[in-house]
Every structure is written in C-alpha cells, then in structure tokens.
Symmetry: C2
C-alpha cells in the first residue's frame, strides 16, 4: 500500500469512533452494532479521497477529518441497510457476518439510522465550532450540503431505490445501469472529492477538477466492482461473489462483457488522472485512481 | 380544533412537500413512498409546537417553517421504520396501511432513510441561505443541532433500541420506562420546543422555559399514548390498540394502572403550563398542553 494511503487510512480509523456519539447504558447494543460495522474494515476510499482532495486544495488533515468520518458513517449505514434481509439479504461483508446476522434485523435498521444521523450530527457540530468565522463557516456548510445532497433522495438513496426496482426506470438497459451506478455509488464518491476540495478552500476551478476526478473514479470503481463479482475471489473480497448474476442484476459485465467493461474502467481512470494534471498532490491522486482500477479486491 | 392550531397545521401541511426534494424519474417510487407517509395525516404536534415556540420567542412563521418540516420528516421516518416487519410489524397507521404494506419492506427502509436524509438537507440548505448573516446563521445552527442530537443515538434512536431490547437496560422497570419514553418520544418533542425558541431568537431564560415546557408535554403525551393503547378506540386512533400488551411492552398503565397514569399525565401538563406562565402566546401554548392531555385519539 502507498505510504500516504496507509497514513491517511490509519488517521481515519483512529478517529472514526471518536466522532461517534457515545450512547447511554440503556442502548449500548446500539453503539456496539454501529461500532461493529465501522470497525469491519474496508478500503476507506471515501474518507481517504476526501482528505486527499482537501490537501490538494491546500487544507489540513484536521479540517477534513469530521467530514471524512461523516462520509464513512454514511457509507457504512448504506451497507448495513443494503445487506438487510428486506434488501439484498447478504450474510457476509468484509469477511464477517453482516450486521443483522450479529445484532438482529431490528437493530441493524436502527444502527443504520444511527450512523446516518450521527454523520449529520458530526457536520452540524463542526459547523457550530467555526460559527464565529464567516468564511470558515461558509466552506463547511457547502461541504456538508455536498455530502448530504449526494447521500439523499437525489443521490445514493435514489440509486438504491432504482437498484431494487429497476423495472420502474423508463430507460433502456444501458441508461438504467448508468442511472443506478451514478447515484448508488458514484454520487458519494464524487461528493467525497468535492467536499474535501470545499473544506480545503479550493477555488471554483480546482473544485471543478477535483469533482470531475471524483466522478470518474466513481465510475471506474463501480465497473471494477461489477467485474470482481464475476471474476473475483470470495476470500480476497470478503463477500460472496456471483451475487449480481444470481439476483439477475444489471451490471457492466452482463451488458458489455468483461473485456469491454475493463476498457470502460480504464477510460474513466485516464480521464480522472487528466483532471488532476499539474495540481498539488496530483501524484497521489493519480496513484489512487490507478490503484482502484487495478485492484483485485 | 383551536383556530390557531388549525392555521399552523394547515401551513405545515401546505409546505411539507415543498421541502421534500423531488426525485428523478428513475426513483419516483421512492418519492411516492415518502409522500404517502407524509400525507397520512396525524396531529403534526412537533411542527406545530416548533412554530408556536418560535412565535412565543418573537420569531416568524417563515423562519420556523424549514425546521418544522424537517422535524416532521424525522418523526415520519421513525414511524415507517418502527412499523417495519423487522421492528413492530404494524399494518395500520393513521387509519391506512403502513408504508411497507403498500411499497414493500425494502422501499420502506429506503423511504425512511430518505426522509431522515431530507430533513438534514432542509436544515443545511436553510443555514446556507442565511450564511451571510452571522447571528442568523448561528441561531439556525443551534436549532439544527438540537433537532439532530435529539433524533440521534443519544435521543430518539436510543429510545427505539431500548424499546426493542428492554432486557438489556440495567435499570428497574420504572427506570426503564422513563428511559425509553424520555428518549423515544420525549427527546424530539422537547427539541421541537427548543429549536423553535432558538430560531425565534429566544434568550437563554426563555429557551429554558420553552424547553422545559416541551419536555413536560412530551411526558404527558407519551403517558396518554400508553393509556389510549388500553382504553382507546381503533377507529378514532387509526391504529390497532392493545398492541403494547400483546407485545408485553412496559407502559405506564402496565406499571402504574390507568388511574395513577392519568394523574402523572396531569401533573406533567400542569408543570408545562406553569413553565410558560406570562410569556407571549402563553394562552395558545397552554391550550396545546391541555388539549394533548385530554385527547381521545
């Protein structure tokens, strides 16, 4: 792993629980359930991206950290609800039993709700902490809105709704696939790059480049995810493979085949790298894009 | 119905959907599911209370409206998730089939998530709209934090977790009952009064009085709710009765009997009325408290 990736990932993991509100004794199972999924690991792509983007805009780790943790809370809640028996009914995630398998179907709904609510709470608190400085408040409000909007009913949740009811989308298969992926995974990855840029104080040009970068790696990320569901190793991935095909889901490989899908992922990765040409930290941002595209887990 | 109550309630109902983000065509079922539960009616207690409290602090309807709608979104999401088969598995709410009965168990989870996310979105947007005026921003940030914290894992969600796993609370039955009710319903009702006061520009003394008022009517409200589950009429209530007893839930009547429970509700109502003695609009606030305590539905 790239040393800078490892450094940022460790920073995120060291701080995730610090931003999670402690619960009272009466609801410690709720805390345990949230903690379980937060600690289940994963690439921490969204928070790493947010922090890297903030640094590329000249901001500091500490400015980005609350938003990085908030976006990981949101991503984690979405996985818990996505794995729920009422949704995809998955029993394995990151090599461990899914949240509802350990804490029950009811607690998994509440743990997801709790993580989403806590994410918003963390951002409101950070905005409040900077409320006496107009320009500091304003960039944080913009970052929080970027995250909140991308996670919501015109972003990630819309993508999940379309994913469980694709027959209701009035588009051809290619259009459906783009719609689902753009919203379900793309929106939050793009928001990570944009929110980092905003907290870091990027001007509109740099914000545009970093957002475009985030959008393109979001596309590549999802294509690779679809490919790995066909060609990947359950042990390495820490989740079951072949799930998409079993559920009859629309994916890049099912629509374009594996080879063409790989070419599409490479195209998006190239475009991401071009978007951050000649900016601060562009070496690391390019590494991040290429690494995601080459991954086997 | 008191004409002022009706006026505020109508205002809320006329604006609820205006604050709900439109979804794209691909996820219109998500929008329909959120809209269905928002339009299912109910007393609109929390938004009415928030607006009344804002007015009592000298603020305007329009200042309070985004927060009033946000808090109703949060309340509505909590009902959808609470009714879900993985939680209380209720099929009737406000005289209509519950959300999952109409839209499916998966969409009900997403509609709840969408309403919670939208509530936060509405508040971030309102804060952003006032970001050029320091004192206006600050009071809105405080109101949003009050709502977000009370809805979260140290408030409403903690109460729901304790309600589904009461055996994990290390308190005697009376302590458990207080813990569950204070968090599950009390926290958000108190936050409605406090957030209204904050948006309205209340000083710390008035904020304290209105918060205490909200806390006490929250207690009375929940006791009456418990009593109505025993003595109420399914048709008038629009939901099944006897549910608590069937689920073996800890309630005021099960612990204290109906008579003593009524006395406790009256005590809390009296205390609420005393807290708002001699403030602006105290007549309406007192009416609200007494009306909730006397209700049969």
């Amino acid at each position: 792993m790239h040393p800078e990736y490892e450094e940022i990932k460790n920073l995120v993991e060291d701080n995730l629980l610090r931003f999670l509100p402690e619960t009272e004794s009466g609801s410690s199972i709720l805390y345990d359930a949230m903690k379980y999924s937060l600690e289940a690991g994963g690439k921490r792509l969204r928070p790493v991206l947010l922090i890297a983007s903030c640094r590329a805009a000249g901001g500091s780790y500490s400015d980005a950290l609350p938003y990085a943790c908030a976006i990981e809370f949101i991503h984690t809640y979405s996985l818990i609800h996505d794995d729920h028996p009422s949704m995809d009914n998955d029993d394995l995630r990151r090599g461990k039993p899914t949240n509802h398998k350990v804490f029950g179907d009811d607690m998994a709904i509440l743990a997801g709700d709790g993580l989403l609510n806590s994410a918003m709470d963390v951002m409101f608190s950070d905005i409040a902490r900077h409320a006496d400085d107009g320009s500091e408040t304003e960039k944080r409000i913009r970052a929080a809105r970027e995250i909140s909007a991308s996670a919501g009913v015109r972003g990630m949740i819309a993508g999940q709704a379309a994913d469980v009811r694709p027959e209701l989308i009035r588009l051809d298969d290619a259009g459906k696939l783009r719609y689902i992926h753009r919203n379900k995974t793309g929106a939050l990855i793009k928001a990570a790059a944009a929110a980092g840029a905003l907290v870091g104080g990027a001007d509109e040009d740099l914000l545009g480049r970093l957002s475009h970068y985030g959008e393109q790696i979001g596309i590549a990320f999802q294509i690779i995810d679809d490919i790995l569901d066909v060609t990947g190793d359950t042990k390495l991935l820490g989740k079951n493979t072949g799930v998409d095909a079993e559920l009859g889901k629309l994916t890049y490989p099912s629509l374009y085949g594996v080879e063409k899908s790989r070419a599409l992922a490479e195209k998006a990765t190239d475009e991401a790298c071009r978007a951050v040409e000649n900016i601060k930290d562009s070496e690391f941002l390019k590494f991040l894009a290429l690494d995601l595209s080459d991954r086997i887990s």
